[in-house]
């Protein structure tokens, strides 16, 4: 009798364990899908001034430019880091630079003082980014696509993420 009861308890425990695992898996999948959906919603673009001659380049080249290396055709002379939108900056580091903020800063500082590199411009205000791009037609920056759509005097050069 007791052994039957134990078997029943064990089978119930197994069922509970399995159902618990399935629940966790479903929750994780739901979270992953929603995160993926969020990532899909968040689109980032490379921008330049309306009047800029800058044209589409590969994302690898964007990465090199933001590491302080020259562009392949020599057209893009400057890059601007958009600190006005922390989410866009985070996505940029993740999807284009493939590194953390600390890692990126460490890399830039090393390049500046080991190889005679220049500082990358950092701007904390969208209107200042636009002004900078207007004054420097060979400069590029990045921002969320929605911000770019709402902002005058700039053009989208390409989608980054």
């Amino acid at each position: 009798m007791f052994s039957r009861l134990n078997i029943f308890k064990e089978s119930m425990n197994k069922k509970i364990s399995i159902s618990f695992l399935i629940t966790v898996l479903v929750l994780m999948l739901t979270h992953a899908v929603s995160a993926f959906a969020d990532a899909e919603k968040s689109v980032g673009v490379l921008v330049a001034a309306d009047s800029s001659p800058v044209h589409k380049i590969s994302i690898l080249e964007v990465r090199r430019l933001y590491l302080g290396l020259p562009s392949s055709d020599g057209l893009i002379k400057e890059t601007v880091i958009n600190l006005a939108d922390p989410v866009a900056y985070k996505n940029f580091l993740k999807n284009v630079m493939h590194m953390t903020d600390n890692g990126y800063r460490r890399k830039i500082v090393k390049r500046i003082f080991r190889q005679g590199g220049r500082k990358v411009n950092e701007v904390e205000n969208i209107s200042e980014i636009v002004s900078y791009l207007e004054e420097h037609p060979y400069a590029v920056s990045f921002m969320a696509e929605e911000t770019a759509k709402k902002t005058k005097s700039i053009k989208v050069v390409q989608v980054l993420w």
Binding site: L69, M99, T100, G103, K110, G116
Partner: protein, 352 residues
């Protein structure tokens, strides 16, 4: 002599470009203000190249330094780079760490002529830029060389290889050091040192989570002690590898280097392993480094290791505050390097 000629050539080249304007000049810099003292033992040699030594009194001199870099663009592919550094360990004398002309042959290839830091090991060419690493100073056991610069030519190749950053650097040159800081300090008399016919190569490959660096340099050494020549045309070889991993918040840094001078039967191994964990703006770390030179036929040996525990706090995007404890065990018999010690240091690193 070579240093003076090189700088003269660079200035003549700069002056020949009359059209240079302020807009073509880029100024940046870095600094470290560090205070420390030995809390057990007598002395701690924290900066070998500049002979920076802490003792039982609080001192700012051994690790404090400030550097200013000026880049003047002469045209789209020609630029002049100069970096002046003042180190507390050398009584704040201003030295030229870098002074060279850079010519961009194409987007992947550049050539430099002039004075540069010698890229012997991983941190050699940004040794003074404290902001770029989490310690107060790179592990002293690994950076014990008396010569830190060369005057000559350098070729850098940085190709596109997928998501990998690649840097190949070929260089050649020489350095003359009269009354060398480290050797004169250790021997107590004037030592003049020349490293000549240096030819070296550095290969670096990195991506977001991995850095790999391999280096090799060979050359010849001349030395005179109190004006008496003690070594001439002695061959020496340096080699080293470094592997760094950045696994999310976890950082693993490592180095293994070798130095060989067969004529003097000197074989030196240096190694370092460091672990750190990034907790937001804070990076606690622990490191073990060691230098081992086995006893040779002339009776010389050198054997010391250091355990370092520290914390870096990224106070803002341009400033880091650091605190570090170093325990040195000096097991050298013929060549003891200031014996066992415990040292505490605290500092601020900044870039501008």
């Amino acid at each position: 002599m070579f240093k003076k000629i090189n700088i003269l050539i660079l200035f003549i080249a700069l002056l020949s470009y009359e059209t240079i304007s302020l807009a073509d000049i880029n100024l940046s810099g870095y600094g470290s203000i560090v205070a420390g003292r030995v809390i057990s033992g007598d002395e701690f040699l924290s900066d070998y190249p500049n002979a920076g030594v802490y003792d039982r009194d609080i001192s700012f001199s051994p690790d404090t330094s400030i550097g200013v870099q000026l880049i003047a663009s002469l045209d789209d592919s020609f630029e002049f780079v100069i970096q002046a550094v003042s180190n507390g360990a050398t009584d704040y004398d201003i030295d030229l760490d870098w002074a060279y002309i850079n010519y961009q042959l194409n987007t992947e290839l550049t050539i430099q002529a002039g004075r540069k830091r010698l890229p012997l090991y991983y941190y050699s060419d940004f040794f003074n830029v404290g902001y770029a690493y989490y310690w107060i100073r790179p592990p002293a056991d690994n950076y014990t060389w008396q010569i830190s610069h060369y005057n000559g030519l350098s070729l850098q190749y940085q190709p596109y290889i997928g998501e990998w950053d690649v840097l190949l650097n070929l260089y050649a040159g020489r350095e003359d050091s009269n009354d060398n800081e480290l050797l004169s300090f250790l021997s107590g008399v004037q030592v003049d040192e020349t490293w000549k016919n240096m030819v070296g190569i550095v290969a670096e490959v990195s991506k977001d989570w991995l850095e790999f660096r391999a280096t090799f340099m060979q050359g010849q050494l001349d030395r005179s002690v109190n004006g008496v020549v003690t070594a001439q045309n002695v061959k020496q070889k340096f080699s080293g590898i470094s592997v760094n991993l950045y696994l999310y918040e976890f950082i693993i840094l490592s180095e293994y280097n070798q130095y060989v001078r067969d004529a003097s039967d000197i074989h030196v191994d240096t190694r370092m392993l460091s672990l750190a964990y990034q907790l937001g703006a804070f990076t606690p770390h622990v490191t073990r480094s060691a230098l081992h030179q086995k006893e040779n036929k002339f009776g010389g040996d050198e054997d010391h290791n250091t355990i370092s525990i520290g914390l870096r706090w990224d106070y803002n995007k341009n400033t880091a505050i650091k605190v570090q404890f170093d325990r040195v065990q000096d097991e050298g018999v013929a060549i003891p390097i200031l014996e066992d010690s415990d040292t505490v240091s605290i500092g601020v690193d900044f870039v501008f």
